[in-house]
């Protein structure tokens, strides 16, 4: 017993203070991967069955709402297409240099191999590592969250081995992302974990108006200071579901519901910086 406790403490110390065990850990995770995939495949039909019945209950109710939403979005799409065309033309005319966007990054598709979400930390393990070009700090998005294929934000890569990587989700206590309101870019704040699966847009002064239903996106680098944001501008994060003010607080209390259900992610896209020169 004493030996095992001592061994655990040695492992914690070595693992925490150096990267000496990273290689061993990476090999271990790689070896475990086929078993995790097998477990996933075996249990998939049962989960699909449960999901199918859950979906059936909600389908009729959602159908009418979605039809109305599709009609509204079709109108909106026409307006956006026109605005986009105008935007491209104006950028060319003004020779405007925009901050990096998702299009400036390479994309690595990866399957989720393990889900380690708990009350203490929210992380997932993905089947892509340094051999695929993934590096610490790379931004991770969901494959199908956005019409232009960029996907909604999930988190960042925080630990890389040759074949697998750990992704710290937005709902983890260590996570913080500079974000803005899509309809009012004067609103700049930091997305932090809220209670349960929700998020909080923190550090937004009381003055800029944020409305319930607004879309929150990554702000990207603001072009000031030596440290650039890890996140390219314009990645969708979530929708504002509520806001409140209190006299004791200088900032608004803005609740955001992420676009992605972070508890059941099956595959992700890692945005890797494109090599220049």
């Amino acid at each position: 017993m004493g030996c095992l406790v001592l061994a655990s403490l040695v492992l914690i110390t070595v693992s925490f203070r150096s990267s000496a065990l990273d290689g061993v850990q990476g090999v271990g995770a790689t070896v475990l991967r086929p078993f995790e995939t097998a477990a996933d495949r075996v249990t998939r039909p049962f989960r699909d069955t449960v999901g199918w019945f859950q979906g059936l209950v909600n389908a009729k109710n959602q159908n009418a709402k979605l039809r109305a939403r599709v009609a509204a979005l079709e109108q909106e799409q026409i307006r956006y297409a026109s605005a986009l065309e105008e935007n491209v033309q104006l950028r060319e005319d003004l020779n405007y240099h925009a901050p990096p966007s998702v299009a400036d990054f390479g994309k690595v598709d990866a399957e989720v191999v393990a889900n380690a979400q708990s009350a203490i930390e929210d992380t997932i393990t993905i089947w892509a590592g340094s051999s695929n070009g993934v590096a610490n700090g790379d931004v991770v998005v969901e494959p199908t969250g956005n019409p232009d294929g960029t996907g909604a934000l999930i988190g960042t890569v925080t630990h890389v081995t040759p074949d697998v990587s750990r992704v710290t989700l937005l709902t983890d206590n260590e996570s913080a992302v500079t974000a803005t309101d899509l309809t009012n870019t004067n609103v700049i704040g930091a997305i932090r974990p809220g209670s349960g699966s929700s998020l909080i847009l923190d550090r937004v002064p009381k003055q800029p108006a944020v409305r319930v239903g607004d879309t929150i996106i990554t702000a990207g680098s603001l072009g000031q200071g030596p440290l650039k944001s890890l996140y390219p501008r314009g990645i969708p994060i979530g929708t504002v579901t509520g806001r409140s003010n209190s006299d004791a607080n200088l900032f608004q209390n803005i609740r955001v519901q992420p676009f992605v259900d972070l508890s059941s992610i099956e595959s992700v896209i890692v945005l890797t910086p494109k090599k220049t020169g």
């Binding site: 693992s15 925490f16 995770a29 477990a39 393990a114 203490i120 930390e121 992380t123």
Partner: protein, 170 residues
């Protein structure tokens, strides 16, 4: 033979924990690995429980790319302590597995927070406390089938097997 069976049971429990349970919000706070470990420790004693706990913790930390040793330490202590309880006062008591799971779930959550805090990582005690009632309930619900399965795989030793030493009096 027991070691092989325990390794298999705990390995499957780890796979279920990482690939299935965490996919459902409602079951995320449950720990089938902890329940399986405690059931085995209760039936096979402190040394067996400690070794099984260490190996299981190492496996979990490896699979999740977490800090190696954190889960091992907590599970070693849990396996040893409950194994000791199984060797002494818990023999043939109906409530022993439920009591073990309830107490260890509670202590494991606080142990996790304490270790994170000592390592200088975010240690949200509020979130841990918030998740605790759900974790307690789900782990207790899992105890019934998991302990029944463990009892079939690791039948309690007969009295003759248990007595290793006889002291003659008089």
């Amino acid at each position: 033979m027991d070691a092989l069976k325990a390794a298999l049971v705990l390995f499957v429990a780890c796979l279920l924990q990482l690939s299935v349970l965490t996919e459902y919000k409602a079951f995320r706070s449950a720990s089938i690995v902890l329940v399986a470990l405690l059931a085995i420790a209760l039936l096979r004693g402190s040394v067996f429980g400690a070794i099984a706990g260490f190996a299981t913790g190492l496996l979990l930390d490896t699979a999740t790319l977490g800090t190696l040793g954190v889960t091992s330490l907590l599970m070693t202590l849990a396996g040893f302590w409950i194994g000791r309880y199984g060797e002494t006062t818990a023999r043939d008591r109906f409530h022993a597995p439920y009591l073990s799971v309830a107490v260890v779930t509670l202590l494991y959550a606080f142990g996790q927070v304490l270790l994170q805090f000592m390592l200088g990582q975010p240690a949200p005690a509020g979130a841990a406390v918030h998740a605790l009632p759900g974790a307690l309930l789900l782990n207790l619900l899992l105890t019934l089938p998991v302990y029944a399965l463990a009892r079939r795989l690791f039948p309690p030793a007969e009295l003759g097997d248990r007595v290793r030493e006889v002291r003659l009096l008089g």
